[in-house]
């Protein structure tokens, strides 16, 4: 590889990693500054099975509580998406026993009313806003719960598109609401009951059933290798 020193990004932290002292579930360890929380656990010699999933910030497996040096505030993060810093203290959140309602989404008669049967605690929000503060995806969770209660399912489904189901909004709720599960129900109900039926899709399914593409298929599938390659080259 050519070595042209002009095109190198300055990364002093990489050239000389500074070791910092952090606390993992109460145990003090020294790790290189700036690595992710989950990598810090591996660096400290811990085997991690529960608490790691996609490693890309999408699956919500690595929900973690952390506190930075001298700050009393306990915050939340996804362990694969957070860099460690000196004096940081963290512990992973174990699976929380939230109650998930069971439903047959297609058979619901009145999804907006059914919300109150499935999740009767949903309207009991006391506006403490702890759920919103706990969300690592920066969703306005409290607002979403109220919108669900007031039947604005469309807004909820849009607000919670970023939700990775880490569940960190749940243990903090003083009204025992599981906002992520409420939002999941509401989003599915929005999609299954209130979204428009796409006319074009149904037309395409019928076309396939009626054999509208059979002639094209016969033409393409009968071609020899050369003919097929030539034909492919014409499709741009």
């Amino acid at each position: 590889m050519a070595t042209d020193d002009t095109n190198v990004i300055d990364q002093p932290e990489v050239m000389k990693p500074r070791m910092v002292t952090i606390e993992i579930a109460g145990k003090k360890v020294d790790v290189p500054e700036g690595i992710t929380v989950v990598k810090a656990m591996w660096y400290a010699g811990m085997d991690v099975v529960r608490g790691v999933g996609c490693l890309g910030g999408f699956c919500g497996a690595c929900a973690t509580y952390y506190r930075t040096k001298d700050d009393p505030k306990v915050r939340t993060c996804l362990a694969c998406q957070m860099a460690v810093q000196d004096g940081m203290s963290f512990t992973m959140m174990p699976p929380f026993p939230a109650r998930k309602a069971s439903y047959e989404i297609q058979k619901l008669q009145d999804p907006k009313q059914d919300l109150f049967n499935l999740y009767p605690e949903a309207p009991l929000c006391r506006n403490c806003n702890a759920c919103t503060e706990a969300c690592p995806q920066k969703i306005d969770v409290r607002e979403g719960v109220w919108k669900a209660v007031f039947g604005d399912f469309k807004s909820v489904s849009e607000m919670f598109m970023d939700c990775v189901m880490c569940g960190m909004c749940t243990p903090v709720c003083i009204a025992d609401i599981a906002p992520n599960l409420v939002a999941l129900y509401v989003s599915r109900a929005q999609g299954a009951h209130f979204a428009e039926k796409p006319v074009g899709l149904n037309a395409r399914i019928k076309e396939i059933q009626d054999g509208r593409f059979n002639d094209d298929w016969n033409k393409v599938l009968k071609m020899n290798e050369k003919e097929l390659a030539d034909y492919c080259a014409t499709v741009k």
């Binding site: 095109n7 990004i9 910030g57 699956c59 069971s102 599915r188 039926k197 899709l201």
Partner: protein, 527 residues
Amino acid sequence: MDIHALQQVVHQTRDARRKQTIPKFSSADRDQLIHKYHPDFRASAYRPIRFGPNEGDRTVVELATLLEGESPIQNHAELTPHHTTDVLVIGGGGAGCAAVLHAHGAGAKTILATKLRLGDSNSVMAQGGMQISVAPEDSPVTHFIDTLKGGHMENDHALLKTMVEDGPSIAKWLLELGVLFDRQADGNLHVKKGGGSSKPRLLTCSDYTGLEIMRVLKDEVINQKIQLLEFAAAIELLSDEAGNCAGAIFKDLDNQRHVVVAAKCVILATGGIGRLHIQGFPTSNHYGATGDGLCLSYRMGAKLAHIDTFQYHPSGAVYPEQLIGALVTEGIRSEGGHLVNAKGERFVNELDTRDVVSSSIIRECEAGRGIRTMSGRVGVWLDTPLLDAEHGPGTVEKHFPAMMLQFERFGIDISKDPVLIYPTLHYQNGGVKIDTNSETNVKNLFVAGEASGGLHGRNRLMGNSLLDLMVFGKRSGLTAAGRAGAMKQGKLTLQHLDRFRAEAKKHGNVSGVISPMILPAYTRKVG
């Protein structure tokens, strides 16, 4: 140099680049480029497999070693089943969920076992979308042709025709379950154009398509009260006296005990191999992507297809360090984002197929036109701010919220500054050979999703994976459920292992490693 200083060239050349059109490579140029720069053609990384159904076929050393690996199960292992079921699904990603829901819906008794949690998978990370020919100007035949071109004409025609024709009914199923695909103003499904496709065909849920589908499918699996075995890693399959598949042995990762499951049919939906870090590449894959299903089916006698070819997604993050290997969605190039070298030049049509784009990035970097990091990596710029310049301020934030948030966590605003990227190990193009019902050459053993092979040829087209998962998950589930109703549970034996071990012995024994790998060894050995 300071990263912002290095990024200046991208800002300075933006307007001039917007006027440029970069033609796609001719077929000959494209082949030449790939042969010279694509990691699939790095001969030293490959070796022939010494024995088994694919004896003599070449694959990467990392995979060959695992395929020839020793089973953790001894010949005399206790095989009294802890659970008995009609259909056993192994894997909790998109294909596994689709399979178990359809098998359950068809009336079969089902178990879904997964080595991490339900839903922990690559599926959940799929951002680009799902290819289904729903637009009036598009057709399943065009989808077939585009995929064939992308796969270098080596795709299994029957599998491919099945996938493109089943596509629209899969979209309908997902919509009925409540998946929120993006819509046009008239209520029809919004379609985007993906790399290597001649027509706009990508259904999306902003840049969270996989996450949205998986949230819904997981919820449905729980609502249907399907029996789950989580943190249960499959470590061996079971065969009956006729050599057909009859169940599996799991290791409970919480207590290391073995769990035996007797099943009339087994569906492996165990995903890909990114965490083997083939050729030292970083990966976009999830923690458990260690190719377990390939090893298990191989010992059982199932033939593999196209296992010498892997997909290196063009845009894996190189900077910051914490995001190395993480994907920067192809959607950014779909919306017009340029790839730019250190001199401020474009060097490839950004919407060419993934193998072509990756090869050209590697070419730029090997020619010294890359940007290097102090941890020894190299990459080129992906001009993300261009999207705001082109389509109006706020475009990046509105269309790519997941990307914005991921970089924002490390103090980077991708709507203002370009992103440094390099190919990352993304997908196993081949896998266990299947028929159109997703069954392997071993009776009652089905494989669905990334673990299967043949459909994608030598290069999977963007957006075809999510569809593959749903189509063949569904087909395997329905076929297995239909068959299980009319058959008896076979006796549980390990005779396939006796055969495998005998064959290994003839060829100088197994490779010395125990397979499957289950999880990558990232824990630092301390002291």
